[in-house]
């Protein structure tokens, strides 16, 4: 099977800080790849590096065989890669419809309408608050708007950064369900960074455990889930 991502000795950081110290892994097509790890281990930084939002200090990123290491974010976006940031992922002063419209900025009107219908079919909950400003929405509703903003681009690969952080369990389940369906029904490749490790590992294909910028585990998700030391490793209690 072809690999969507081929990451080779990637180092990522901000300014003078190096946070990811050379990681090598790959993500297969139509895979749900889960990245877990304690707080501050660099999961979010890694995703930002993959999308071009953090500075690459070394190594290489191949996306569908193309070297994207130096590409700016919107160019990566054109290649079908989508990124769902943890924070500030919507425009608060715009309505939901305007947010989604912006995400599909370069589509013509008919195409946008067509895609919007598809997205609303996938996330029907949004229909109820299309005309409201995002700042009046709850955390879960905002995450769904951000989700929709990515779906309007009809990407082939979506990277989520803690999409369920600070959500109620019910809302988190809903988001997890949609993420799973991206893979099963739409055949997308998903990279999921999650703090809710149990849930994520249960539905993931393969998983990576990141501790202070280095890989501590890479393999089947189920295996990590049943690993007896997961709790202590995940909390960062083991070096």
């Amino acid at each position: 099977m072809a690999n969507v991502f081929e990451i080779d000795e990637l180092k990522v950081g901000y300014g003078k800080l190096e946070i990811i110290h050379g990681v090598t892994f790959s993500v297969e097509k139509n895979e749900l790849f889960v990245i877990v790890g304690p707080n501050g281990s660099g999961k979010s930084t890694l995703l930002k590096g993959l999308f071009g939002l953090a500075s690459i200090k070394g190594g290489k990123i191949l996306f569908n065989g193309e070297d994207i290491t130096k590409l700016p974010p919107h160019e990566r976006s054109k290649l079908g890669l989508a990124y769902h940031p943890q924070l500030n992922n919507t425009f608060e002063n715009l309505t939901v419809r305007e947010n989604i419209l912006l995400a599909g900025y370069f589509l013509d009107r008919d195409e946008l309408e067509r895609r919007l219908e598809n997205v609303l079919e996938f996330l029907p909950e949004i229909r109820g608050f299309m005309e409201r400003k995002v700042k009046t929405l709850s955390g879960g509703e905002r995450q769904m708007v951000a989700f929709a903003m990515n779906m309007i681009k009809e990407p082939n690969t979506v990277m989520f950064d803690e999409p369920t952080a600070a959500l109620s369990p019910k809302m988190a389940d809903l988001i997890f369900d949609r993420i799973r369906r991206l893979k099963t029904e739409y055949g997308l490749t998903v990279v999921l960074v999650e703090q809710n490790a149990k849930k994520a590992l249960e539905m993931g294909d393969r998983a990576m455990l990141l501790v202070t910028g280095s890989i501590k585990y890479l393999g089947p998700a189920q295996e990590l889930l049943t690993h007896e030391d997961l709790a202590s490793m995940y909390l960062g209690l083991r070096d």
Binding site: F51, P73, H74, P85, F91, L94, E98, A103, F106, K135
Partner: protein, 304 residues
């Protein structure tokens, strides 16, 4: 103390101008995140553009209004593209941007002074302290001064255009998005620089239109842009400095208070010289800073 209609109409005209100026200043502050101390000069660039065209073409004065828009807009665009944008890319902090706007103010005013000299030399016209002659329209039997009519129409139509642009077009949505969260807008593939440059063009155009009305009221010279800076800022800060609707309302409050206040204070028994007129916007500015530093916009946006 009688207020005759002329004073009220003058207050309306002046407030129309001020509303356009503080609105456009606010628009530039929203993109640059810092106050532009050369904003008043954009109005003067606009009016000199229109005046030049008048000298060359001898058309009806009001027909040169679009020229004022164009000159103000293009000059603002140049400011943004040649100075502010590159400075910010090089990591200038906002105090440096503020100082740059002061330098632009000096350069612009002295450029206008040189231009006024050239104009006088080549066309033998008044190039400083010039005025525009107004026309009177007869509408359904009522005589209305052109200035009152056209300035009000301009404000109403420009506000409507801006509203439609910002709220109803894709580009306007992108503009609001780029102002709120440039990083996210960039990720979505919106050319934030282009959006900001457009905002500057519009802001400069609005200021140019406001400037066009100046010579109908008072003799206009290159330095007038600096003199009107205080009321513009008072209006924008009163409006909340980051609120377009606040800026418009602030413009009317400052404009009306300034005209009526100056008139009333110059009457017996106070008989104060009208030269102290800037004290009124100054007092509004100080009171706003002391009592309501977030401006009047904070009064209605707090609930959201």
């Amino acid at each position: 103390m009688m207020l005759d209609t002329n004073i009220l109409l003058d207050a309306l005209v002046y407030s129309n101008m001020l509303a356009l100026l503080s609105l456009s200043l606010t628009l530039t502050i929203m993109t640059l995140k810092v106050a532009n101390f050369a904003h008043g000069d954009l109005a003067i660039i606009g009016v000199y553009g229109a005046y030049t065209f008048l000298i060359l073409a001898h058309v009806a004065t009001y027909l040169t209004l679009p020229i004022a828009f164009l000159f103000g807009g293009l000059y603002a665009l140049l400011n943004y593209v040649l100075v502010y944008s590159p400075m910010r890319r090089r990591g200038a902090n906002f105090v440096m941007l503020m100082i740059a706007s002061m330098a632009i103010d000096i350069a612009t005013r002295s450029m206008l002074q040189m231009y006024a000299d050239v104009l006088k030399l080549n066309f033998k016209v008044y190039s400083r302290a010039f005025i525009f002659n107004d026309v009177v329209f007869n509408i359904a039997g009522t005589r209305v001064r052109g200035l009152v009519l056209i300035s009000t129409l301009s404000v109403v139509s420009l506000l409507a255009i801006l509203y439609v642009l910002l709220m109803k077009t894709k580009f306007g949505v992108a503009m609001r998005a780029a102002i709120e969260n440039p990083a996210l807008a960039e990720v979505l593939g919106i050319n934030v620089e282009k959006v900001y440059a457009t905002s500057w063009f519009l802001a400069g155009g609005f200021a140019g239109v406001a400037g066009f009305f100046l010579p109908f009221r008072i003799p206009t010279s290159p330095d007038l842009g600096f003199i009107i800076l205080l009321p513009i800022f008072a209006a924008s800060i009163l409006g909340g400095i980051n609120s377009l609707s606040g800026a418009v309302i602030g413009g009317y409050i400052v404009g009306v208070s300034e005209i009526l206040g100056t008139y009333l204070l110059s009457q017996p028994p106070i008989n104060l010289s009208t030269a102290y007129r800037p004290a009124i916007p100054f007092a509004i500015l100080i009171l706003t800073l002391l009592l309501l530093p977030q401006g009047i916009a904070s009064l209605w946006s707090r609930g959201e």
